[in-house]
């Protein structure tokens, strides 16, 4: 029997052969040249825009004035910069916890809405997400200015005598980060909670657990994938934040992202900057690995 050129022979689980149209063979069934051809577009992108720049940065981080040097790394371990790293990590941590505390109840509310209201709710959460991040941060900055709407309202109500200085503080950066990351926290949580079987809570209650214990022993463990996903999505980008730190913190709230950027601007020290970038990447990768270990294969679709 002649095999049509657009059909391939495949083998079923029991060893019997059958034909499949060319196009729907799985990756595993493809061989050699076909495999290479399919991977070319994605592979090219990854290499050109990720691996190559990464390699360049790694290269730059160990060369200064044409000489091999580990100065860049040494400088990164100076007190000033260690403090900067620590502060950035701490702020990200606080951001994550605060975002979690705000988002969990919101996600619960959304998950318990009648079916027809859920998609609109998700839509509402995502709308700010589609607005340009810079624009959103500027809007927040505008709100919190000394002459901004919040201060004006408080002054006119007589609650304060002088405008509150909210901007150019670490607090402002926190607010900016929390606000910016809320969709990243709410949506994975909602995804986990939507699948949650609320009868579990009734069962826990029936067996003697009050609301708090039912939450800790049943609800939290079962929504852990969502919590972890949201946490990583919030924590990792926040460490290296640049725009938020710049707009909300001015010059007063220095974080590692700004420090690195500074090294690539005037007074440039690319070696140093690259070294710090790589170190930051290592830290971030470490946290991401922890997530994958703890997640234990229970992934939430992001």
């Amino acid at each position: 029997m002649a095999i049509q050129p657009w059909l391939q022979i495949s083998y079923g689980a029991d060893g019997s052969s059958y034909t499949k149209p060319y196009m729907i063979q799985t990756i595993r069934e493809r061989k050699g040249l076909q495999l290479f051809g399919l991977m070319l577009p994605g592979g090219f992108w990854l290499i050109a825009f990720f691996l190559l720049p990464l390699a360049m940065i790694a290269f730059i981080s160990v060369f200064r004035d044409g000489q091999f040097t580990l100065d860049g790394y040494q400088q990164s371990f100076e007190d000033v910069y260690i403090t900067l790293f620590q502060r950035s990590i701490w702020i990200s941590f606080v951001t994550t916890v605060a975002a979690l505390l705000i988002s969990y109840p919101v996600a619960v509310l959304m998950a318990r809405l009648p079916k027809e209201w859920r998609n609109p709710a998700v839509f509402l959460v995502m709308i700010p997400f589609w607005t340009n991040f810079l624009v959103r941060t500027y809007a927040l900055q505008f709100l919190m200015r000394n002459q901004g709407p919040i201060n004006s309202l408080l002054l006119s109500l007589g609650l304060i005598q002088e405008p509150l200085t909210m901007l150019n503080t670490y607090g402002a950066v926190l607010v900016g980060l929390i606000y910016g990351n809320l969709p990243f926290m709410i949506l994975p949580l909602y995804s986990s909670l939507e699948k949650f079987d609320w009868t579990m809570i009734e069962a826990a209650n029936d067996l003697g657990a009050n609301t708090a214990r039912a939450f800790l022993r049943v609800m939290l463990p079962l929504t852990a994938p969502g919590v972890l996903a949201g946490s990583i999505l919030t924590f990792v980008p926040s460490i290296g934040t640049y725009v938020t730190a710049e707009l909300m913190g001015g010059g007063q709230a220095s974080m590692i992202g700004r420090a690195i950027a500074g090294k690539f601007e005037q007074g440039a020290d690319w070696t140093f900057g690259s070294a710090m970038s790589l170190l930051l990447m290592v830290i971030v990768t470490a946290f991401a690995l922890i997530y994958f270990r703890v997640g234990r294969g229970e992934r939430v679709a992001l």
């Binding site: 009868t199 579990m200 009734e202 069962a203 209650n205 029936d206 067996l207 657990a209 009050n210 049943v218």
Partner: protein
Amino acid sequence: MSDFAVEMRDVTKAFGDVIAVDHVTMAIKHKEFFAMLGPSGCGKTTSLRMIAGFEQPTGGEIAIDGKNAGNTPPFQRDVNTVFQSYALFPHMTVAQNVAFGLEMKGTPKTDVVRRVSEALDLVRLPQLANRYPKQMSGGQQQRVALARALVNRPKVLLLDEPLGALDAKLRKEMQVELKTLQREVGITFIFVTHDQEEALTMSDRIAVFNRGQVLQAGTPLEIYERPNCRFVADFIGETNFLDGKVTDVSGDFATIDVGGRPFTGRVNGDIHAGVDATLSVRPEKMQLAEKQPSGPNTYEVLVNSIGYVGSDTRIIVALGPRQLDVWEQNSHSTLDPNYFFRPGEKAWLTFSRDNALVLSN
């Protein structure tokens, strides 16, 4: 110890405009296997949930072992529930699931281990202690749910459609097992079902619900042989209904005129001469004969069809404009060529007035 394990005293539950439970009063005895039976949406599940504490009555009160439960939350009631979906905790092993209630009470570790092991022996699943719920079959999951509830030694066990998710064969097995379990454990079981056969087989007493009200509560025999209204007679088993007007009432019996033909049956309900009523007689209580027998309730009928079901024969006959079902047990060999009536033949239908009921509409 009070007289009753659970009492519902004039309990009403309204969800907005919908009245799910309508002034229900019921008393369930200690160590009773009690069924709440009825079609979907009749209020039986809502009643069960109120006993468990998941819903609060809008009127009336629920007493558990004599004490008004008030708005005590479920975790403070000495009552445990087996849910329809089992609701086993997927992130815990079977042993951890069963131990949960004991841990909530602060039982010491050694006792927990012992009692979990006893509970698993009780439901005959000792070897699966370290499995996860998703690794088990539906029947096994149900047993874990039972163990998880019973290990706490509650005063009352509530079961919400426990056999609904099981296949027919497993269901029959579990009916027997649940009954045996209840006797072994010696506590009150209250279960909700829409399957009347199940209720008849397993329960000591049944409460028949419809539209939020309890229409009748009694033993399976009482419910089956003496239904007090048309709904109960219809919902439980099969029956023939003949509508007509009551012409005479004397003592326990009444005569009802159905399209010109008088029938006599036991009185059940508000029956006096002149009212519209229904005669209810079950198919297995009727007999067909070739020759006219004596006695009341005897009429000539036309045989319409014969249905052979192996152990019984189900015959549909016509009495004037009405069709009636007659069931006869095949106590003799059906291979006899003259055994069956043939469609189109005439026969004599009769039944005892003891086996018929005149019900008010």
